[in-house]
Amino acid sequence: MKHEPLHLSDEDLLLEAYGELSRRRSGQARAHLAECWSCRARMAELESTIAHFVRAHEASLDGQAPPDDGPRAMLAARLREARESDYATTPHPLFGGMSVQFAFGCLAIVFLLAGVGIWKIHGSVAARQDEATIAAINWNAVPDRNLTPGATRRLAASDVCASAPPQDWTVPATVRKRVLQEYGMAGAQARSYELDYLITPELGGANDVRNLWPEPYSATPWNAHVKDALEDRLHAMVCAGQMDLPSAQRDIATNWIAAYKKYFHTDKPIAGAST
C-alpha cells in the first residue's frame, strides 16, 4: 500500500527558500517539492510574498536619505579625528612610555621657555608666529575638497532672494574648533582668518562643518574680502534671473577663485569690487 508523502511544513519551506537547511535535508525537501504540486504552489506563494515585502522594505527610504557622499565625508573626518586623538594618547617608546600628547606637552613647555628667552633678546617672537600662521593659512585660500565639499539647504531661488530679516549665521564655538582641528590650525589666531562658509548662507549654504573652512583675510590677493564680493555678485545674478541657484552653488563650491575670474572677467581681484 502506497502512502501519500507528508507535506513540508511552512518552516521547512521557508528554511529551504532561504538556503538555511542542511545539505541532506535540503536534498530531501527539493525531492519532495519536485513531486508535490501542493507544496510547490505554497512555496511559490511564499516567495512571491517575500519578494513583495523586500521591495516594500527597500523602498521605505526612497527620497528620504541623501546620497552616500556627504555622510561618507563626515565619517572620514570623524575617523581622522578619532585616529589623531588616539595617536596622541598612545604611549611611545621614544618618550619612555609617555603618551605622545604628554611628551609634546613637555616639549611645548621647553619651546615656550626657549621662545621667551629669544623674545627677550630680539623682541620679535610674536611677529614671527603671526607670519608662520599666515603662511599656513595661505594654503587654504581654496578649501580642501575632502574636508570642505560644501553643503546646501533645500531652498529655491525665490527663498534666497526674499527680503527676510537678517539671520544670525555665527558659527558655534564647538563647530569652529572642529573645523580648525581638521585643518590642523587649532592654534591659529582669530584675527588672521575668517571661518567662512564655502557656499554662503545667502546662496543656500548650510550651517554644516562640511561647508566651513578657515579663509585668510590677508597676505594673498585671494582673501575673504574678495570672496565676499563674489558672493554678492552671484546673489545678485541669481535674483536677477541671470543664473540659476544650483549653478551658483556649484561654481562657488568647485573653485571660488575660478568663479570670481569667470564672473568678474578678470584674472586678478578688483579693488573694491561689488555687485
Binding site: 510574498t49 513583495h52 523602498a59 528620504q64 561618507r72 570623524r78 578619532a82
Partner: protein, 195 residues
C-alpha cells in the same frame, strides 16, 4: 613590542601589535579605509533598519555614523572579525532602541517610524497596476507594523540579507527563535497578501 592602540574609552585590554609610530599610522589608515568601505556598503541597510524601529531619518544618519565609528574602534582593538555584518546590526539595534527611548522620554509619546508611502514606481506601470502595487505594499507594511517588535526585527534583518545565525547574533536570541519568528511573520504576511 606591542602598543596598545585601543581608544581611551575602550574597556577592552586587547592590543594592536605594532612596533613603531609610522607603522601604527599606516595600520590606522588601512582600518579607516576598511571602515569607510563597510560604511558605503551598509549605510542604507542600517538606516532602513533603524528607521523601521521608529527612529527619524536624521537620527538614523547619526546612529549610522556612531555604528561605524564603533566598528573602527572595534577593529583598532584587534577584536574578532567574524560575523561583522551581525555585529554592525547589533550595535545599530542597541543605539536605535536607546535613541527611541530618549525620544519617547522627551516627547512623552511613542515615536513613529518615518516610513514613507512615497516611492519610486516603475513608470511602465499603468494606473491600475500602480494602484494594485501600492495597495499591496500598504497592506504588507501595515501587517509588519502590527507584528511584535522582535518579529519585525527578524523580518527586517532578513530583508537586509542576514542569515538566520546573523539575525540570532544581532538580536541575541536563539536560532530556533529566529526560525519560529520568521515562519510566524511570513504566515501573517501571506494571509494579508491573499486578502
Amino acid at each position: 613590542m606591542e602598543i596598545n592602540a585601543c581608544p581611551r574609552d575602550s574597556t577592552t585590554a586587547l592590543s594592536f601589535p605594532v612596533a613603531t609610530m609610522p607603522r601604527l599610522q599606516g595600520a590606522y589608515t588601512e582600518l579607516e579605509q576598511e571602515t569607510l568601505e563597510f560604511f558605503v556598503q551598509f549605510r542604507r541597510p542600517v538606516l532602513r533598519y533603524v528607521c523601521g524601529l521608529g527612529v527619524t531619518v536624521h537620527d538614523g544618519e547619526e546612529i549610522a555614523q556612531e555604528v561605524f565609528l564603533a566598528l573602527f574602534r572595534h577593529l583598532c582593538c584587534g577584536q574578532s572579525r567574524r560575523n561583522l555584518r551581525a555585529w554592525v546590526f547589533r550595535v545599530a539595534h542597541n543605539l536605535a532602541l536607546k535613541q527611541r527611548y530618549a525620544d519617547q522620554k522627551a516627547r512623552g509619546r511613542t515615536a513613529g517610524g518615518e516610513f514613507s508611502m512615497e516611492t519610486r514606481i516603475d513608470p511602465e506601470m499603468d494606473p491600475e497596476e500602480r494602484m494594485v502595487y501600492l495597495q499591496r505594499r500598504f497592506r504588507l507594511l501595515a501587517v509588519v507594523s502590527a507584528l511584535p517588535e522582535k518579529d519585525q526585527c527578524c523580518l527586517r534583518l532578513r530583508a537586509e540579507g542576514l542569515r538566520y545565525r546573523e539575525i540570532a547574533r544581532a538580536l541575541n536570541i536563539s536560532l530556533g527563535a529566529v526560525s519560529i519568528s520568521l515562519t510566524r511573520s511570513l504566515a501573517r504576511l501571506q494571509s494579508a497578501d491573499r486578502a
